[in-house]
């Protein structure tokens, strides 16, 4: 049987593609249902095609406000976590100091802890200190849990950097600041960018820690959570789809620029 043999030979490819389909299916559903016109409050069953939601994405109270809040928090959390994390990564790779083991564990532990544990304990701290829950407590929490991921991403890059490059810069009349700006930073940039991107994604999409520490402030994931109880507006799907499309487009454009640059360099 040639069909069976073909299947056996391509078993891995078939299994892989099935997994890929499993991963993408929900996105397709989200996209399709952004054109739905549901009967009741919930957008779970297909009724009829409509562009209503696309024409008025902010038509639901608080939706766009929560989106903008989430973007702001993600921006500042990325900035904070990237700055602090990059400094730690450089210290860990480039210097010898005491208590290295303890510091390594302190960085590893937040990644090895269920989110709900960190969320609950941080809330305990804020309650004990009498802090007012809101934007600032969420930002503090986000910087905290993004930090370790940034450290890991940047550290990997800095470790693969030849320390002789910086020595060469110093040898060629670049002082400490010039060396950092002209050599260290440009070469470490891909690692720092990867860390920042990760931090942004983690912060923007975080629900559990935010839910504990936000008080009455509502971020975008919290809005979605709330609407899952009260009724899901189609606009949620519109925003989900738009972010998906924008992200894929950005990646494709980036790839295009990179490959164009490569072919230019070759000529």
């Amino acid at each position: 049987m040639s069909v069976l043999r073909w299947i056996r030979r391509n078993l891995i490819v078939i299994a892989g593609l099935l997994t890929l389909a499993y991963m993408i299916l929900p996105n397709i559903v989200v996209m399709v249902f952004s054109f739905n016109k549901p009967k009741g409050r919930f957008n779970y069953a297909w009724q009829q095609f409509s562009l209503d939601a696309w024409e008025d994405p902010c038509g639901v109270a608080d939706l766009c406000g929560s989106l903008s809040l989430s973007l702001q928090i993600a921006f500042w959390a990325t900035l904070g976590a990237t700055a602090l994390g990059t400094m730690i990564a450089f210290a860990l790779v480039r210097y010898r100091f005491r208590a290295r083991g303890a510091i390594n564990s302190l960085i590893f532990l937040p990644m090895a802890m269920p989110e709900v544990v960190m969320a609950a304990s941080l809330l305990t701290l804020f309650l004990n200190m009498g802090a007012e829950l809101g934007f600032w407590t969420v930002l503090i929490a986000h910087i905290m849990f993004c930090l370790s991921f940034v450290v890991t991403a940047v550290k990997a890059r800095v470790m693969s950097m030849d320390p002789r490059l910086e020595e060469a810069a110093r040898d060629l009349y670049a002082g400490p600041v010039q060396t950092f700006v002209r050599v260290t930073l440009p070469i470490a940039a891909p690692g720092i960018a990867a860390g920042a991107l990760l931090a942004f994604a983690l912060s923007f999409d975080d629900f559990i820690i935010t839910n504990f520490n936000a008080g009455s402030t509502v971020t975008f994931p919290m809005f979605v959570w709330g609407s899952a109880q009260r009724g899901t507006p189609v606009q949620i799907n519109v925003i989900g789809t738009a972010m998906f499309v924008i992200a894929v487009l950005m990646v494709l454009v980036g790839q295009l620029i990179a490959s164009r640059r490569k072919s230019n360099a070759r000529n």
């Binding site: 891995i12 602090l84 544990v117 890991t152 629900f207 949620i236 998906f244």
Partner: protein, 313 residues
């Protein structure tokens, strides 16, 4: 040219006494790493470590919201919490463990496909793996409500194939519905954490030199043996970090259980959340959260020891 270095004569160096001024590295230079570490580490100490201490203290307090709480070393809270909520603990570990195994089984072929078979499609497939991240995971989880809806295509197919008869006999689903059953929760968990399995797997597979496969083939290994003796052992770092990145967050997750499950599928995360945010029984919530942390850390430590990959950080 000239040299006044003592000839390296066999009898050791009876060198004339030299005035040697020892130079110490400057204090400022030695402090550089500490200045670099200070802000970030301080942040982690204050907002990660210190809260754990507060939580430990809360877990042994008694009192009420109105009269305030007081440390009374009331360890009974732990016993009570475990006695009351052990089903949720067991369920959490069971669901998270099942989801992790499913992620490994589903994710490995895809990671392998990207690393060795995708060729010029590699970047596209990678983008497709990562892209769903950009749609909020809550929205995507809600999409499963549509996919697994009662009377929907998936349920129909499973029903026609009599799969649901088997799974409902096992207690995973009900006889004609998937939503609000353990299977829906595990399905959601698996879906949500698949990328965390695939990416580390891909990273470690991609590092494997393709010539190793040829060498194994040359040394009389069948493709299956090559996988068992060469590819899989070399991908162990990816397997370990992938399973950790899946199991740890899955064990504390309550989003999937709440959105796709029912009251019978509540995981321990839900309990902690409602104790903290709705019931406001802080000591019980803190105790539950501590027990969860202890269980996860113990399992992770044991697992890392067994698999012999200690330098994950």
């Amino acid at each position: 040219m000239s040299v006044t270095e003592a000839p390296p004569a066999p009898p050791a160096e009876p060198e004339e006494p030299r005035k040697l001024t020892l130079r110490k590295p400057s204090t400022r230079k030695r402090l550089v790493p500490y200045w670099l570490l200070l802000p970030g580490i301080l942040w982690l100490v204050v907002f990660f470590a210190l809260p754990l201490v507060y939580q430990a203290s809360t877990s042994v307090q008694t009192g009420s919201l109105e009269q305030g709480f007081e440390v009374t070393w009331h360890f009974q809270t732990y016993v009570d919490a475990l006695r009351e909520y052990y089903p949720q603990f067991i369920r959490s570990l069971l669901y998270a463990g099942t989801a992790t195994i499913l992620c490994l089984l589903l994710g490995y072929p895809l990671a392998y496909l990207i690393a060795f078979k995708a060729g010029r499609w590699r970047n596209l497939v990678l983008v497709l793996v990562i892209a769903p991240f950009f749609t909020s995971f809550l929205i995507r989880t809600l999409a499963w409500k549509t996919i697994l809806a009662d009377g929907g295509a998936v349920v129909d197919v499973l029903n026609t194939l009599h799969v649901l008869d088997v799974t409902s006999w096992l207690g995973w689903t009900e006889s004609n519905r998937v939503l609000a059953t353990p299977m829906a929760v595990v399905c959601g968990l698996t879906y949500n954490f698949l990328p965390f399995m695939i990416l580390p797997l891909y990273t470690s597979l991609e590092r494997i030199d393709g010539r190793l496969h040829e060498a194994a083939g040359d040394l009389y290994a069948t493709p299956a043996t090559t996988f068992r003796k060469v590819t899989f052992p070399l991908s162990m770092p990816g397997v370990v970090s992938g399973t950790l990145l899946t199991f740890i967050p899955a064990s504390g997750d309550y989003v999937n259980a709440e959105l796709l499950g029912s009251t019978d599928t509540k995981m321990v995360g839900s309990v902690i959340q409602s104790q903290f945010l709705r019931v406001l029984d802080y000591p019980t919530a803190a105790a539950l959260s501590f027990i969860l942390m202890a269980i996860v850390l113990l399992m992770v430590t044991f697992y890392i020891r067994r698999s012999g990959t200690e330098d994950l950080v």
